[in-house]
């Protein structure tokens, strides 16, 4: 469960202010945030994951209070609980597709990279139609293939929370649905909470809750 209370966040030397009086996302819930660029959707993902910390208020994921923890503790929590899909994919150029997917296992000492994990990675690539490109490097992949690789990387370690920033931004209609199905399936199988930030209003049907972030913020600011 994600709980946000009395949150106030502002970037240094910027007029942008994000206020959230209260926001709760239940375990296993699938929530989509929509809204225009610059409305603070990505900032919210960063606050939930502990990449940034609010000046005021609390962000709690399960029993872990992000606000009061050190950078090191937040890193440990992030790597062991959260799967990320970044807006720009952020694949490592020197790793092939399969190694990029397995990256969480290589940078997280708590995770063990074994044959079962490798098999799961292969299954994921097969599901997303990129199995035949397992040995290719990111520069040899299309935008869509890179995005699907980033999706696989986000879910490979079966995180309890999946944060996805425009996960279907570079995919065609067919692949969009495949990607969403994968995210929903992971959420359902592992009771993972799914928080997606998107501009794409055509993918919202499968979510439990859709929050228009501009309206949400206006209400919060008014309150």
């Amino acid at each position: 469960m994600i709980q946000i209370e009395q949150l106030l966040f502002r970037y240094p030397r910027s007029p942008f202010v994000l206020r959230i009086k209260e926001l709760t996302i239940a375990d296993g819930e699938k929530v989509a945030f929509v809204g225009p660029s610059g409305s603070g959707k990505t900032t919210l993902l960063n606050l939930i994951s502990g990449i940034t910390v609010p000046q005021q208020g609390h962000v709690r994921v399960d029993d872990f209070s992000i606000s009061g923890k050190s950078d090191s503790q937040r890193r440990d929590f992030r790597i062991s609980h959260i799967g990320f899909v970044f807006q720009q994919f952020e694949l490592l150029s020197y790793l092939n597709l399969l190694d990029n997917i397995l990256l969480p296992y290589r940078i997280n000492r708590a995770l063990e990279l074994n044959a079962a994990v490798r098999e799961r990675a292969r299954e994921l690539t097969a599901k997303l139609g990129i199995a035949d490109k397992s040995l290719r490097y990111p520069r040899q992949l299309s935008q869509g293939e890179q995005q699907r690789t980033a999706l696989c990387r986000a879910v490979i370690a079966r995180p309890k929370l999946i944060l996805a920033d425009e996960p279907t931004g570079n995919l065609d209609e067919e692949n969009k649905q495949i990607a969403l199905d994968l995210l929903f399936q992971q959420s359902a199988e592992h009771r993972a909470t799914l928080v997606v930030v998107t501009h794409d209003l055509g993918i919202l049907s499968g979510f439990n809750r859709v929050i228009d972030f501009r309206e949400f913020r206006s209400a919060e600011d008014a309150a």
Binding site: I51, R78, I107, R109
Partner: protein, 397 residues
């Protein structure tokens, strides 16, 4: 740490040219001083070993270094050679076993060393093919001479003529190769050894020619009386001494005055050595000859070499420092280029220690690669260094 090494290896392999450049820089920075050290060590060992095996050298006055190099490596010949009576003097003193050297001529570029068969004993030289020289006009060649000139036993080897217009003497001598020495890794491998008298023949002090006792040609016989026959230059000396012509060989002049360029002296004991040195260094002995201890001369020479080496080491230190600075710059630039990658790692929750491990693993791999290459180069060049030093020392003639 294994995952850090995996990721580091992938990164280095992906950026293989950049990695190769850094590894080459590190390898050269590490290898060049080691190579220099190997060369100097080998040079020191080899040059010192030959000097140690030559307790004393007696030669004409002048540079001790020149005399040492001449006696040990047959390099530049002394201007004023010693008279042979000096050899008698040492022999009669019974303080040391003298081995004369007369090194004046060359045969196809290789020094011809006129000596006695004692030389092979004192230098512990073994004959691989054939035998040692016994009569005039025979020679024994070093292994490198035989290899380079493709000489076999019974082949002929002509001494080089020094002056083409000197018709009065110094005729080239066609020698018969009667033996090939086993490889010794010393200057002896690149020398031609012959009897002292044979080398005097090349100097024109002795020769063989047609019997003039019954000669009536006035162009050949200028004068004849009870004391002897005066021959003209039309009587050509033989260029080769065959067994049939051996009886015609004769020498002109006082044998005690025939030249030798150095005497290797092997004293019976330390006391004899001291006495012998004393005889040559005692006041009132004149300066017709000098005695030197090659070991001392070589030690002085090596001191100079090592002083020069210090400069080289200082230079290498500066190169190493600049390489380290460049490496630091490369790493700093690499970190900047990889800022996005590090940011991704951070956002995924990668710990600081893991990121440090990644960087450390890359450095370790790069240094390990450089160390492997240095080791391989050292292994590959070690034998080569020996050959080069041998060439440097031996080929200095």
């Amino acid at each position: 740490m294994s995952h850090a090494f995996f990721l580091a290896a992938r990164y280095l392999a992906f950026h293989r040219w950049k990695t190769a450049l850094i590894v080459v820089c590190l390898t050269l920075t590490g290898f060049v001083p080691i190579l220099l050290w190997l060369v100097l060590d080998e040079f020191d060992q080899r040059i010192a070993a030959r000097a140690e095996r030559t307790p004393l050298v007696i030669g004409p006055p002048g540079s001790g270094v020149d005399l040492t190099l001449h006696a040990l490596y047959f390099t530049s010949r002394p201007k004023d050679p010693l008279p042979t009576r000096e050899l008698k003097r040492v022999t009669e003193s019974q303080l040391a076993q003298p081995v004369p050297l007369h090194c004046h001529f060359t045969a196809r570029g290789f020094p011809i060393v006129g000596t006695t068969i004692d030389y092979f004993d004192v230098r512990q030289l073994a004959v691989e093919q054939g035998r040692l020289f016994v009569t005039l006009g025979e020679c024994v060649v070093g292994s490198e001479v035989a290899r380079e000139l493709r000489l076999q036993v019974a082949d002929k080897l002509m001494s080089d003529r020094e002056n083409l217009v000197d018709i009065a003497g110094q005729y080239p001598l066609r020698m018969t190769v009667v033996g090939i020495l086993a490889r010794s890794g010393t200057a002896d491998d690149r020398a031609v050894f012959t009897d002292l008298k044979s080398s005097w023949m090349m100097l024109g002090l002795g020769h063989g020619h047609d019997d003039l006792r019954d000669e009536t040609d006035p162009h050949k016989v200028l004068a004849r009386d009870s004391r002897g026959i005066v021959a003209s230059a039309a009587v050509l000396p033989y260029l080769e001494i065959t067994p049939e012509l051996m009886s015609t060989v004769h020498f002109h002049g006082d044998p005690d005055e025939f030249p030798i360029s150095a005497i290797l002296a092997f004293p019976r004991d330390e006391k004899s050595a001291t006495l012998l040195i004393g005889r040559y260094e005692a006041p009132g002995q004149g300066k017709s000859a000098q005695v030197i201890v090659p070991q001392k001369v070589i030690r002085e020479l090596m001191k100079l070499v090592f002083q020069v080496t210090q400069l080289f080491h200082a230079n290498m230190l500066l190169v190493a420092i600049s390489t380290a600075c460049l490496l630091g710059l490369v790493i700093a630039l690499s970190m900047r280029l990889r800022a996005n990658e590090m940011e991704t790692m951070f956002r995924m929750g990668c710990s600081r220690s893991m990121i440090f491990n990644l960087q450390a693993a890359e450095m370790i791999l790069v240094f390990a690669l450089a160390a492997i290459f240095i080791g391989a180069l050292v292994w590959l060049t070690k034998g080569w260094v020996g050959q080069v030093i041998e060439r440097l020392i031996v080929g200095a003639t």
